[in-house]
């Protein structure tokens, strides 16, 4: 109460005008060039994934039996692999696996993590305590080992990889949402919503969720990078997706064998693609977090 008038004046000064999408993108490049570069990389790979069939000079799984392990040439820009398949086309097609695993995995993680975070943050108490301890416990294990164990146990399919990644990643979202809800649950608008007669589910999903989701959204790109990395690692270890599927991790695994014998191109090109996409997602994610994070924003 003592600073009513000051806060009133502040509110007036800090009211932000609405921006169009285009202005926002321009604003993004200004406020965080890193995020803009990251976004560019993501869009580039996204385009590869969407337009793969038009961009690939060859079928990704077509075997040119007489051209096994050919070095890069004008016919095969990135050379051919041990099966005589065109690596350039396979790298392009691989973008589909990158997004095809990362997006559903992150969506699943959000679908599990957000309600858990909302509920535990709002209700607190024993369930909250227990769940948070359990999540802490999960974090002690390196996620790759857990993923490895679970995929090995549940059967090696693409779906299983997605489910395992989604479940393993959900605590990250549960935590950010929970901490936002903890800060919001005693706010006046929530009390006002209760006073109006809202049932709990509406408090959680209509009132708290839209106000608590920003932090989780800011994390999605970074978590997608994690999913791309872990799924590739699993494939590299021979778990989940198997050769000759044109998945980058699987391709790197196959190419690793030829590194010693001098056919560097088999592993190099999918490796570079993988690193680039993970880097792009991380750069974008970090930039977004910086912009969306109210604290860094206030300091500006």
């Amino acid at each position: 109460m003592p600073s009513e008038t000051t806060s009133m004046a502040l509110r007036e000064v800090t009211a932000e005008p609405e921006f169009s999408l285009w202005q926002r993108i321009i604003g993004l490049t200004r406020r965080s060039p890193t995020a803009a570069v990251g976004l560019g990389i993501i869009l580039f790979f996204g385009m590869l994934a969407l337009m793969a069939q038009y961009l690939m000079p060859h079928e990704p799984e077509l075997v040119y039996a007489e051209r096994v392990l050919h070095p890069p040439s004008s016919e095969h820009l990135f050379g051919t692999d041990g099966n005589g398949m065109d690596i350039f086309s396979r790298v392009i097609y691989g973008a589909r696996f990158g997004f095809g695993i990362a997006i559903p995995a992150v969506v699943l993680a959000l679908v599990i993590g957000i309600p858990v975070g909302l509920w535990t943050g709002y209700r607190g108490g024993m369930v909250d305590e227990a769940l948070m301890r359990f999540f802490d416990g999960l974090r002690v294990f390196p996620s790759i080992i857990l993923a490895l164990a679970v995929v090995a146990a549940t059967g090696q399919s693409l779906i299983n990889v997605v489910i395992v990644l989604g479940v393993l990643d959900s605590p990250v979202f549960a935590r950010v949402v929970r901490s936002e809800v903890l800060a919001l649950r005693s706010s006046v608008f929530v009390e006002s919503a209760i006073a109006a007669g809202n049932p709990t589910w509406r408090i959680l999903f209509i009132h708290l969720l839209p106000n608590a989701i920003q932090g989780a959204m800011a994390q999605t790109a970074v978590r997608a990078a994690w999913a791309v990395r872990i799924s590739a690692t699993l494939a590299f270890l021979g778990i989940g997706i198997q050769a000759p599927t044109p998945e980058w991790g699987a391709m790197i695994r196959q190419g690793a064998e030829f590194m010693i014998s001098g056919q560097w191109w088999v592993a190099l090109f999918p490796g570079v693609a993988l690193i680039l996409l993970v880097l792009g997602l991380n750069m974008f994610g970090d930039g977004m977090q910086e912009i969306l994070n109210p604290r860094s924003r206030a300091e500006k």
Binding site: S7, M8, E191, S192, N198
Partner: protein, 329 residues
């Protein structure tokens, strides 16, 4: 229909609310045995310094916080011990307006949805009917319908408080609690909101609890007034009587501290010594005895009860009313 003949909408008996402190066997005595009732069409003003328990009473009555003890009868129905879920349908008939309109509205909802929310929750209205009713409500609070498609951040404080009021009257509630509805608004918009509240008061038969520390405003809006000191009612009387003929020494000093916007007002100021004691260590006997200029020895031991002071609609809790030495001037 006069107010005296109808049964009260809200009847509060022996309401107590203690909050835990960090330490064991220590509590904040926020509300300590409060009795009052409000009849249909009546506006009860509640005044007291900050920390005297006004908001806690409002929130407890609406079951937004659990009472420690006491009875709350709402339209004759006992609700103090009702499970929270069972209270929900009752909320159509009891609504609240909060002090700070900037934080009382979900920033992610459009104004139209905010006003229509109680209708969505408590009526079987169709989408179209809700639309019409929302437009009508916007008109009643003098808010341009252009604002209905905006978000709260696009509105000024006065406009936001109009939205809150529209929301509170949407379901024609029987009880409206206004917790400092004008205190955080700028002087230039206060008058407009007060006018609106007065207008709504005339239009409905609702019982209104008007909480404020702004004495001028309370006098303007209320029929009767309760004065709180450390979570207890020290005086309960008609609005004008509280201002002109206060019986309790605390009320007298409170009224003398009031600054009417009138340079000619003659005020005999009785500035109190010291500060309000902590509600953690409540003074014994009369809670006001540590500052009371006319306290006697007995005030430390005996807790005064609300008793008739003057006529029977005027009550005050002071031991010295009996010997007529309750005036501090």
């Amino acid at each position: 229909m006069t107010a005296e003949q109808t049964s009260p909408v809200l009847d509060v008996r022996g309401l107590v609310k203690h909050f835990p402190t960090g330490k064991r066997d220590q509590v904040v005595h926020a509300v300590n045995g409060v009795n009052f009732s409000i009849r249909p069409g009546e506006t009860l003003g509640m005044v007291g310094e900050s920390g005297s328990g006004k908001s806690t009473i409002g929130r407890t009555v609406l079951r937004l916080t659990e009472p420690t003890a006491g009875k709350i009868a709402f339209q004759g129905q006992e609700i103090a011990e009702m499970p929270m879920a069972a209270c929900r349908p009752l909320r159509a008939d009891m609504q609240m307006v909060f002090q700070d309109p900037w934080s009382a509205l979900n920033p992610r909802m459009k104004v139209r949805d905010l006003i229509a929310e109680p209708l969505l929750l408590h009526t079987k209205m169709t989408r179209g009917e809700r639309r019409d009713r929302t437009d009508e409500l916007a008109g009643r609070v003098h808010l341009s319908t252009d604002f209905l498609t905006r978000y709260p951040s696009d509105l000024s404080g006065g406009q936001l408080q109009r939205v809150c009021i529209a929301r509170a009257i949407a379901t024609n509630p029987k009880l409206i609690i206004l917790d400092e509805p004008t205190s955080s608004l700028d002087i230039s918009v206060r008058a407009g909101i007060l006018e609106l509240l007065a207008e709504i008061k005339q239009q409905t038969e609702a019982a209104v609890l008007f909480i404020s520390h702004d004495l001028g405003t309370v006098r303007l809006i209320s029929d009767r007034i309760v004065v709180l000191y450390l979570g207890k009612i020290v005086e309960y009387a008609d609005a004008d009587a509280v201002f002109e003929d206060a019986a309790h020494p605390y009320t007298q000093s409170l009224m003398s501290a009031h600054l009417p916007a009138n340079p000619k007002a003659e005020i005999r100021r009785h500035v109190l010594e010291g500060e309000v004691p902590s509600p953690i260590d409540m003074p014994s006997g009369c809670a006001f005895h540590t500052r009371c200029p006319v306290a006697i020895e007995d005030c430390r031991r005996t807790e005064p009860q609300l008793e008739a002071a003057g006529n029977n609609t005027h009550q005050a809790a002071c031991l010295r009313i009996l010997d007529g030495k309750n005036r501090i001037d």
